[in-house]
Amino acid sequence: MATEKITFHQSAYSIVLFCFGSSVIIGISSSANQDGWISIILATICIIPVFLMHARIIKLFPEKNYFEIIETVLGKKIGKIITALMLWYSVHLAALVLCNFGEFIQVFDMPETPKLSITILMILTTVYLARSGMRSIGKWSVVGICFLLFVVLFTFATSVHQMHFENLLPVMEASPSQILKSSFEIFTFPYGESVIFLCVADSFHKKDNPYRVFFLALAIVLPVFLTVFIRNLALLGLPMINASYFPSYIAVRIIEIGDFFARIESSISSNFILAGIVKIAICLLAASKGIVSLFGLQNNRVFIMPVGMLALALSSILYTSTMEMFIFLDYYMYYALPFQIIIPLGVWIVAEFKRRKKGQMINTPEDASL
């Protein structure tokens, strides 16, 4: 199956937009209260070994996707089971982002419009993008990241005069266990979700260093997350952040410059659409590759629409209210852990073990024997 390749920067920017996906709008976890910035830094440090592991897996099996790697490493039977699990996670993640999008638009923009009609438009757009291929997603990411960074910097710069930096104090008021729990939340959502990128790793150029791709992405994501967190906290204060479901939107809503420049919150919606589309499109692409691998088929592009429709159906039954959606987030970190850490760790360990046992490079024609 011939796969489109994306450039080094396109790969890194897609990971960045993927990480921003819904977290741009839902906001970064605030269970550590004003010490959330410590949690963000801690989660970033903790995700480094995971990104190293992802990069190592890609390095061991260049130009192969996760499902092919799983089958090569774990064999056909176990491979199919793990593929089915990862396929479920991809579709579920797409449905979750779709649901966030539907809830957000319904709560803030179109309260009378049924959520289904909003999510239908979103899924058709993402299916179109996913069917256009990874190269189109990469190009979209390059444009998207410029806009996203501009909006984050612009909203920060224009709101500095309204910020109350004392909201960041006192430092370390949250207990270490609270900070660690919050780090764990950020670790799984959004950082850990980048495991989906392994499923489209066949789009990475062999000559591009995957370690550098992941580290460039992390180098962009960390400052942006910190900026967004500090902006929201300094503008809204802790009680308001804890009371609102979509703090970024509320924070930007109150920005005012003189008497003529206000109501720039639509820029936050645009950010969410730009990043959310990338996230859903990559999940759909991953799921379609999973279907191809699971059933031994050939053309993954055919299955992007059915998995899109499956994600649409799933998003319509996931939650009955916005509150339920946020309750699920409390459990998400435990639910996502096997997909984000345990499975890739198992694949990596077995791959390394087999490679050493064979005493030769894994990406040789003898691959099949592994």
Binding site: H92, A313, Y334
Partner: protein
């Protein structure tokens, strides 16, 4: 109204896909394609006909709560 939207969506999507993709693929691929579409259509139709479908999120939460140490 929503049921009409869902039926129209699926009809349009299948017609489009049939012309662009499905006429060139093997039978196995068609079977998988139509099975997935049928599952999605059934869920959406039932949901919009006010038939309560158990949420996977609830099942996941209940399963996790059964594990020790998770409240």
């Amino acid at each position: 109204m929503l049921i009409g939207i869902v039926l129209f969506l699926f009809l349009a999507v299948i017609l489009y896909d049939y012309n662009v993709y499905l006429n060139k693929v093997r039978v196995q691929e068609k079977v998988v394609y139509y099975s997935l579409m049928l599952i999605s259509l059934c869920i959406l139709l039932l949901q919009n006909a006010n038939v309560s479908i158990p949420s996977p999120a609830e099942a996941i939460i209940n399963a996790l709560r059964a594990l020790p140490g998770i409240q």
